[in-house]
Amino acid sequence: MTSYYDPQDLPKFAEIGKNAPELAEKFFDYYNAVFADGALTEREKTLIALAVAHAVQCPYCIDAYTVACLEKGSNLDEMTEAVHVANAIRGGASIAHAVQMRKIAEKLSM
């Protein structure tokens, strides 16, 4: 093994079901239901998934959802904005915790 990540492994995603198959079945049923058209369209959900994939930094998900976004009729403009949403929330979460930092510093400081 020369790398922890190999794109050829992505299609093996469902092999988790070879053990504990009942749990895999529950997961994949739920997974497919999550991405079906609902109040949000499949395209909107796929863009959200792309953003989350960048937030959790999963290369498998980034690969799969980049392709899925294009196949749902999205484009680089939309996909880039989605990544920026992930970026803004991650950055914003750090900054929001700075409220804690400031509170403690103000309590301790003259």
Partner: protein
């Protein structure tokens, strides 16, 4: 796995059913050189249908009844004999369609064609791969998106695509890369909302198509390192439910020289109808039901997922 073997394993034989459609490829000359073009049409091509072939096609349509006649290319607008072809065919069918890349149709020298189409009840099928300018221009060339929008507005001005005008303006949407198209109904909703909101453009229906790995698209796939994965994708997406509805079962395709095929993709691949060169002037009757259809691995593009015909997605 070869598509032959895929069909055989499922006990499927691809044979013709009743012929309903005549598709005429008037030649490969085009003002654009789109990257996904399966016939490699472009400005440097010289192949264009001559007058005697036009007359032979009209004679055939008069001998045999076709529910629909569909004119494609290249860019049909560039064929000098197009008005004669249309005026000859219009009385012979209830549905006459001409495909356009929009940029050709909006050229000043061809604007008169739009009124000619209107007077002859011609329906227009216009290529617009994306509502995103970068994607459209990436497939079709710099500036094409803006000129396509201008052409669509011009067509709306003549009544095409307007509700209750009776003048059909359908959009043909091919993916702008090595991926399968979006769901047709979802794409139609999105295009309709976006084109109306941003450009005040209306259209009748939208059809999605998979790109077929032939011609310039195949060359692009090879050069970009996408050929193997794309061929694998369309093979793995094989859907046996699409086979009864494939257009090769109901279509007779004629090339610029008058030779017959079962579809425009087989035309591009050089796979003649019944496996041998036969001229449209020799077609005395519609091909019998049960006639075998030549196939090759590019056919996986039409059987992938929802499946695709010249009228868009098969399963919706």
């Amino acid at each position: 796995m070869d598509i032959d073997e895929t069909l055989r394993k499922r006990g499927i034989e691809l044979r013709r059913t009743a012929t309903t459609t005549l598709q005429i490829n008037v030649g490969f000359k085009c003002n654009l050189a789109c990257r996904h073009c399966h016939v490699e049409a472009g400005p440097s091509r010289r192949e264009m249908m001559e007058s005697r072939t036009i007359e032979a096609v009209i004679a055939c349509a008069g001998r045999l009844h076709f529910q629909a006649i569909d004119i494609t290319g290249g860019a049909p607008e560039l064929l000098p004999g197009l008005p004669r072809l249309i005026s000859g065919l219009a009385p012979l069918t209830s549905k006459l369609l001409v495909r356009t890349n929009l940029v050709a149709l909006a050229r000043p020298e061809f604007v008169g064609l739009i009124d000619f189409y209107r007077r002859n009840g011609v329906g227009i099928v216009a290529s617009l791969p994306s509502i995103n300018p970068d994607q459209t221009n990436g497939q079709r060339g710099a500036g094409v998106f803006e000129r396509s929008v201008a052409a669509l507005k011009l067509l709306n001005g003549f009544g095409y695509g307007r509700q209750k005008s009776g003048l059909g303006l359908d959009l043909a949407v091919n993916p702008t890369g090595a991926f399968l198209p979006a769901d047709q109904a979802q794409a139609e909703r999105r295009f309709r909302l976006d084109l109306e909101r941003k450009h005040n453009i209306e259209f009748s229906s939208l059809f999605t198509f998979a790109n077929v790995p032939l011609g310039r698209f195949r060359t692009w796939l090879e050069g970009s390192g996408n050929l193997g994965p794309y061929l694998k994708k369309i093979e793995e997406s094989f859907n046996p439910c699409t086979v009864p509805h494939l257009m090769c079962r109901t279509t007779v395709s004629v090339d610029w020289q008058g030779f017959l095929y079962d579809c425009d993709f087989n035309l591009a691949a050089g796979l003649h109808h019944c496996g041998k060169k036969k001229h449209v002037s020799e077609l005395a009757e519609l091909p019998p039901e049960g006639t075998s259809i030549p196939i090759a691995d590019h056919c996986y593009a039409c059987t992938a997922g929802a499946g695709f015909t010249c009228s868009g997605s098969i399963l919706q």
